[in-house]
Every structure is written in C-alpha cells, then in structure tokens.
C-alpha cells in the first residue's frame, strides 16, 4: 500500500496513527455530527472520540473504536486536539464521493503532538494526497453530568420509524416536545407550529419499540434548532435510544453501522428548553 512507504523515522515521530482502508468509515460518521465548524478530538487506547458542541446546550459525540481501524497506534494515554471539522471532512472526501463499488479512499491519519498539524495521507487509485490541517488547543467538552443512574425514562426504537417522524416534523415549531410515560401516550413527539400542533405517538407494544423502560411521566421541550442536526445521525443509524434524566436532559444514542458492517456510536446530549408541567 503506497501509504506504508513512508519512512520509518516519520512513523516514530507520530504519537497517534490511525489508518483505514475506507475513509468513508470515518467521514460518514463525522458528517453525522458536523453541525459546527470545530471539533474536539480525543484519542485513547480504546479509540477515537470526536465532540462537537453548540451554545453550551447541545453536545454530539462520535465514537470510533480502535478495532474499526486497520492500524491504530497511540503512544500516550490520551491525545487531544481541536481541528476545523469542515476542513477535515473536505479532505477526507477530497477524491469526491465515489460510489463505484470497490473503489474507495484509503486514509492514514497522523499526529505528532501538541503544536503540530494533523496530517492526512489519502490514496485512491494510485493517487496520493497529503493534507496538513492546523490544530488548536482542545477545549474541555462540557460535562452534561448525564449518568445512567439518573435516567428516569428510556426507550430504544428502530430508527426507521423515527426517521419518518423527523422528516415530517413541523419546522415552524420552535420546540420539539418529548413525552415519555409508563401509560398512554407512552412515547410522544409533539410540535407546536404556525398552523397548529402535531403529535406522533409510539405505543409501547409497537414492533418498532425494542425496549420500553419508562417509570414516570415526563414531558420536556427542546429547541428544534438544536435537535435538527441529530437527524443526520438518525439517518445513518439503525437503532436509537432515547433517555431523559431527572433534570429533563435528553440523551440520544445512535447505533451506526459503517460500510463494513462494523458498529460505531453517535450520541447527542441536549438541555431542556424549559420546565413543562405535564398536561
């Protein structure tokens, strides 16, 4: 493979090397969280975590485990940096979106450490491109303090049904209201738009409902503008878990299968818009 013809000395300098035979396995999942320009990368022995945040109310994380990569070498416990995600995606797709089966872009992503750019070696059909993207000091991602022990309500749905709902959501509504309850309406998405309101109800015995664990009725509203980017992750996913905790914070976890059938996760955390009394 052309990318492996780099000199050994170069390889020694890098504190992080991650290679993929198919760059789409990274670019597709990053597109699912690319609603802002900047992303915080955090690499550990377990793999890569990429975080994007918006106005301190929304956070999206993409997890690509080490096993997904054909080569994954990390020389420190954690390696962190911040890059322009839009630029990174442009580089990862620099050969265009080839849909010819069997033809894909190979990627070798290398990082020397603090102060060095992120270096990408991309190859397709014998052509090699080298991209160096400036990195910044990584900010600390917000800790939403969302822990499983505080989770009041949880459902796992097959994404197909939610995809339909999200594609039909009334965008003139400023908020998306999520009601979760052990009794009717079980799981309800509501919008309040210009013409009136709309409710999508998923009964607990629906065959789209894989798991239903609701202990107490909760109704929370979230800004539609914050949740809209999550539809990209929804589109890629096959299953989604929706959890709310005692504060009304929302956690959406998407199970994404990449081109090779391997599993990655994307999660979104969102603050509630306001306290809503159940009606």
């Amino acid at each position: 493979m052309p990318l492996s013809t780099q000199s050994q000395t170069d390889a020694d300098q890098y504190i992080l090397i991650a290679s993929l035979d198919n760059a789409r396995n990274l670019s597709n999942i990053l597109k699912a969280i690319s609603f802002k320009d900047h992303a915080i990368f955090n690499a550990t022995q377990n793999g890569l975590k990429v975080t994007v945040e918006d106005s301190k109310c929304l956070q999206a994380n993409a997890f690509i485990q080490a096993e997904i990569f054909q080569e994954y070498t990390i020389k420190e416990d954690t390696v962190g940096f911040q890059v322009n995600l839009t630029v990174l995606l442009d580089c990862l797709t620099i050969f265009g979106g080839s849909t010819v089966p069997g033809v894909c872009t190979a990627l070798r992503m290398c990082y020397n450490g603090y102060g060095y750019p992120l270096t990408l070696f991309l190859e397709e059909g014998g052509v090699v491109t080298v991209c160096k993207i400036n990195t910044q000091e990584p900010e600390d991602p917000i800790d939403f303090d969302f822990c499983s022990t505080n989770v009041i309500n949880k459902v796992i749905l097959q994404s197909e049904s939610l995809k339909e709902a999200f594609s039909e959501l009334d965008m003139t509504s400023e908020v998306l209201q999520i009601t979760m309850s052990p009794s009717h309406p079980f799981f309800r998405l509501s919008t309040f738009g210009n013409s009136g309101n709309a409710h999508y109800d998923y009964p607990k015995d629906s065959d789209m409902m894989e798991l239903f664990q609701c202990t107490k009725i909760q109704t929370n509203r979230y800004k539609m503008s914050l949740l809209k980017p999550s539809t990209k992750a929804l589109a890629l996913s096959c299953k989604v878990s929706v959890r709310t905790d005692s504060r009304g914070f929302l956690s959406l976890q998407y199970l994404v299968r990449n081109d090779d059938g391997q599993i990655c996760f994307v999660e979104y955390y969102c603050c509630p818009d306001e306290e809503v009394e159940e009606d």
Binding site: E164, A198, Y200, D201, S206
Partner: protein, 397 residues
C-alpha cells in the same frame, strides 16, 4: 363533521390534495349532505378546482348535527402548506397508513387529522382553520356547446409534449379535428423557444360533441394536477367548453368521487372564422391594467338577487338569461386579476371595496342566507362585501 377513510382511499385523498395544491394555496373543506367537498382557487382567481367525495368513499361519514342547517354549515379554510405534508407518507410509501380520521371541531375552530400508521404509530394533527365564506363555482357545463371525453392516458400523452414551463395552450375544435398548441401572445413570440401543436382526429375521443368551432386558451399548468390524478386511477377526463373567453371545465368522475377543474380562458378576438387584426393589437395581454379602455362586449348590469340556474340536476333553469350572463363584464379598476388574462375573464370576485359590487363571470364567495331560501338558486355572480347583499343559497349538484 367527522369522516374516516381507510386503506387505499387515504392515498386517493392524498392525491386529490396534491392535485389541488397544484392550483391554489388554500383549501376549503365543505361538508355537505352529498359528501365532503374540497375546493381551491388560485391566487389570480382564474382557476377553480373541487374534489367531491360521496359518503360511499368513506368508511364513515358524519356531517354533524351542527351542520344540518346550511346556514350554520362550517366552512373551513386550511393552508395547503400545512395539509399536504401530512399526506406525504401516504403518497410516498405504500401501505404506511391504515386509517385517517378527519374531524372538524367548530367549537375550537380546529380540524383534527388523525392517522393510524403501521407499527402502531399514530399521528395527530390539530390545525386551526379560518372560518370563511363558502367557495363554489357554479358552472353550467351542460350548456357548453363542445364536449370531449378521453381516457386520461390520451390527455396525459398530449400534455407531456408541452414543456412544464409552458403556461398557456390553445385547444381548438372543429368538426374535423381537435388541436392543442402552444399559445403565444405576439406573432414574434412564436419564434422564441419551442412551439408544439398536436392534432387529433375526433375518433380518438370517447365522446366528441361539437356545437360550434372554437378555440380556447387556458393555463395548462393548472390542469396538470387533475390529469395526474386521473392517470393514477385510469379515469376518463371530460372537457366542456364554449368559445374564447368562456370558462373551460374538466371533470373526472368515479363511483365515489368527482373532480372538477374550471379554468378561465383568454378572450380571443382572433376567431378562426373571422379576419381580425393581428394579435398584437387586440391581444388580451395588451389590455392596460386600468380598464379605462377595456370595454365589455355586452355591457350589462345585474341586479341583486338575480337567480341563475346552478349546474346539473337543478330544477330551476333559465337558459337565455344564463347565456346572457356568460359574457364579459366590466371590471372595477381596482381589481387586478392575473395580468395575463383580461379582467373580464376572472372567475371569482377578488376583494372588493365595500361600495362597489362586482359580478364575476363565474362564481365568487357565496354567502348562505339565513332565511332558508331554498328555492333561490345561486347566481353566477358573487356576493359583495356589503352586508345588505341578498344571501344566496348554495347548491351542489
């Protein structure tokens, strides 16, 4: 009003809404004894469409106690931008919706659409509606001298040859042939872009009835919705028309529903059998926006309360007064319907100043009289905004 549609009917209903959306931005839901009528009119008020669903179309149709009296009949106006997306799932995905319930709650001014979808998912939409005067075109199509009926596939096959951007076409009929061709305003325009003309032999039509040779020019774009609908269900389309300037009506019928599209046509001084000045001079498009120079072909005034027969199956009927009325009327200078069509061919009454009563050629908002004048039939003209106008009773065939 409450109605329930099941199974395939939901898709039919959705396609009807889609066809209506090709004409206007709003729909009027009109629950009647004979079924549910959904109507629309375009912003220029030169095109009107109505889909009427008989009670047989529904799994359940209840007009509602409060609507027994026509005078209290609820007329809801809904924005199509809100209604059409609801049916998107039905139109795009097969068997995705099992049941659709539509309820009009006049106490709240709400229409509730409730869909029961696959996987047990339910969707409920509560839309606020605007109370509005009824919208209805009364078009005596049986008086039209010319009628054609053809399979929708034939008409679809004709229309497909005209570019989507082509607005107006001219339909001409003579004893020997039927022609549909691109309409161009000025002689010079015929050299711009592509012109299409298709000629058909009368035998190609299932019904070919010619009373007088004529050519009518109308907006094709507004017909496409109905044609798509007819093609989806392989329903024949009938077309009734008279001379230039008189509206042309297209009808699609089935056992449980009926759809009408009525389009105004250009007044075309250039008749086939008369030598006329070249289109440039008398061309309707050249009529200035103020109607100071436009004169009606037959000036007339219509007094309040004139009765004119409604469309088919009505008992009171006065053919001569009808024909007299189906002529151009002088429009108010403030009224500016579609600038491409002369003011005289407007089908409905635009908003009028309170002091000025305008009678349109075809129809307008019909306000129900509260005094149960059942014998009085709607006039071809519209009500004005003045309160002392005689209320007219609506009738649907």
């Amino acid at each position: 009003m409450k109605c329930v549609i099941e199974g395939n009917g939901i898709k039919v209903f959705g396609k009807a809404i889609l066809a209506l959306s090709r004409i206007g931005d709003e729909i009027w839901l009109d629950p009647l004894e004979v079924g549910l009528a959904i109507r629309t009119v375009n912003s220029y008020q030169s095109a009107y469409a109505c889909f009427s669903f008989s009670p047989l179309f529904f799994w359940k149709y209840v007009r509602g106690l409060e609507t027994q009296n026509n005078s209290q009949a609820v007329k809801c106006k809904l924005n199509l931008k809100c209604v059409l997306p609801m049916f998107r799932a039905v139109l795009c995905r097969e068997r995705s919706v099992d049941r659709c319930e539509i309820t009009i709650k006049s106490s709240d001014n709400r229409v509730i659409f409730h869909f029961r979808c696959r996987h047990g998912i339910t969707k409920t939409y509560n839309l606020r509606y605007q109370e509005s005067e009824a919208l209805q075109a009364v078009f005596p199509s049986h008086l039209c001298p010319n009628m054609l009926m053809a399979r929708s596939k034939l008409l679809g096959g004709i229309v497909v040859h005209f570019p989507v951007s082509q607005e107006e076409v001219t339909l001409s009929i003579s004893a020997l042939k039927v022609t549909m061709r691109t309409f161009y305003e000025e002689e010079s325009d015929c050299f711009k872009g592509m012109n299409t003309a298709m000629t058909l032999h009368p035998d190609e039509f299932d019904v070919f009835q010619i009373g007088e040779d004529s050519s009518v020019t109308f907006c094709l774009k507004e017909l496409r919705g109905l044609l798509s609908f007819a093609e989806s269900y392989a329903l024949p389309v009938s077309c009734q028309f008279g001379g230039a300037g008189q509206p042309v009506s297209f009808t699609v019928k089935d056992m449980t529903l009926e759809a009408h599209v009525v389009l105004s046509t250009l007044t075309e001084p250039d008749q086939e059998n008369s030598s006329r000045p070249p289109p440039g001079e008398d061309c309707p498009a050249e009529i200035p926006k103020t109607t100071a120079s436009a004169t009606p072909q037959e000036p007339m005034s219509i007094s309040d309360g004139d009765c004119v027969a409604s469309s088919q199956n009505s008992e009171v009927f006065n053919p001569s007064s009808l024909m007299r009325k189906m002529v151009q009327l002088q429009a108010s200078p403030e009224i500016l319907p579609n600038p491409r069509f002369p003011p005289q061919s407007a089908l409905t009454t635009p908003v009028t100043p309170a002091t000025f009563k305008i009678r349109s050629l075809l129809f307008g908002a019909v306000r129900n009289g509260g005094d149960g004048q059942i014998a009085e039939l709607p006039s071809l003209v519209c009500a004005s905004d003045t309160e002392d106008d005689v209320g007219t009773q609506e009738t649907l065939r």
